[in-house]
Amino acid sequence: MSKSPEKKVIPFGPYHPVLEEGELFELTVRGEVVEEIYWKTGYNHRSIETIAETKTYDQICFLVERICGICSHSHPYGFVRAVEDLAEVEIPERAVYIRTIVAELERLHSHLLWMGLAGHFIGYNTVFMWGWKYREPVLDILEEVTGNRQHYATLKIGGVRRDLEESKYEKILDMLDDVEEKCRMLLEAVPEDPVLKSRLQGVGVLTEQEARDWGTLGPTARGSGYDIDVRRDHPHAAYDWVDWDVCVEESGDVYAKTMVRLRENMESIKIIRQCIDQMVPGPIENEVREIPPGEGIGTYGAPRGETFHYVASDGTNSPIRHKVRAPSFNNVPSFEASCIGEEIADVLLTLAAVDPCYSCTERSLKLTPTSSDERLLTPRQLLEASRNKTKELIDQC
């Protein structure tokens, strides 16, 4: 008998043809089986939180949109909710509906995009091309509603920037019919397709306990039978005014995550229809003149899970602290549970199945051992200290 294969480390990235963003995975493999996974991000770190502290509240809406291109409604939504929580602003009903419509359109386009990419990863490019083709009408509606295909710039503290004219309802509903038909086709085709089934079922299983332990969110958690959805659990936007279901699948493999997303597409379409139906006339924003000192938090159910924003204000026109926690930050570490013991060809798919977004995840974090008595300075104190030092030096000469 041949001796057992030796351990090898296979680097994967930072630039790899299937990874859109730069990130590095090091897979320790024995033969074909992955034994350990090490991952390193940081390539996309742009210090957004620090930039946010130098901008005004209105400008930050545009900045947080650019945290991630796919969630470009989710991050501003988290942010405006945090500021609205801080300033205790009421949002007019019409604005809430418009926000929800854009949010659900975004979910629709994000899930179709993922479906396409998943097809691409397993070498089934037909699915890739079809998924992305079906996504185009959604982008068209988004352009119709917000004026841009991506980076919608719809949100504003206190309401929305643009009204949705009544003449557009008809057009949106027509396009939705078209998209619905295609989403239903995908929903029916995936369970019947022998290639997809054999490639997705039983791959990268994340059990419910593991999903809870790693704190996963969104479709990653729901695919493992962990019934969590911030849209239902902490209602915001118009989610408690419309009728929809949380989609949960039990098996925890990539197939379950795919089905969760495909079923969510149908729910999104349902929500948008109801929002258009229930839309009330009225103002689209409440003017906010002042942001008082204080703290606020905002959560939003993004396509990948719960987005969390924290804003602290000292009463000036820019925040003193802005913290972002994107869902991928929780979902990405669950690779350590789902990838170990998989074959190397399946790992890629398992990595992709949580729909990771590294540009969302890149927050820097400083860990200090609790026993250390080293002095910690905030950036402000550091700036102060450096100014004092400069003054001293000037005085000396």
Partner: protein
Amino acid sequence: MNWKERLARWGIKRSPWVYHVNTGACNNCDIEILDVLCPRFDAERFGIKLVGTPRHADVLLVSGPVTRHTEQPLRDAYEATPKPCAVVAFGACGCSSGIFKDGLNVNGTVDRVIREEDPEAIITYVPGCPPRPEAIISAAVKTLEAL
């Protein structure tokens, strides 16, 4: 320009192969690049193709402000690309670092890094955040004209 270089440039124009480097983009530019290759816009019918390594590429498509971690990989990718090649600074971020200009971790624009490697490099700029697919196709035509 000697005959070999002229021949190479003539060859590239028939079917430019593109290598995409993400230097800290927000994903949206990357999605639009893929979108252009998909059925609605289908740039592949002009022979434009994304390839998996800079060694096969004629065009280096760089999206994103150049962050500290991606500066060296970008230099390496440019080095590895056979010359003559064109560089496309993609999106507002690629052209000028865009909204992230003041970031602590952002090292500067694509053209600064590429010019440091090679002052003679051919660089096309595609502004937009993200550029629309039509703009991308038009940029492809202009890049080929510049070669």
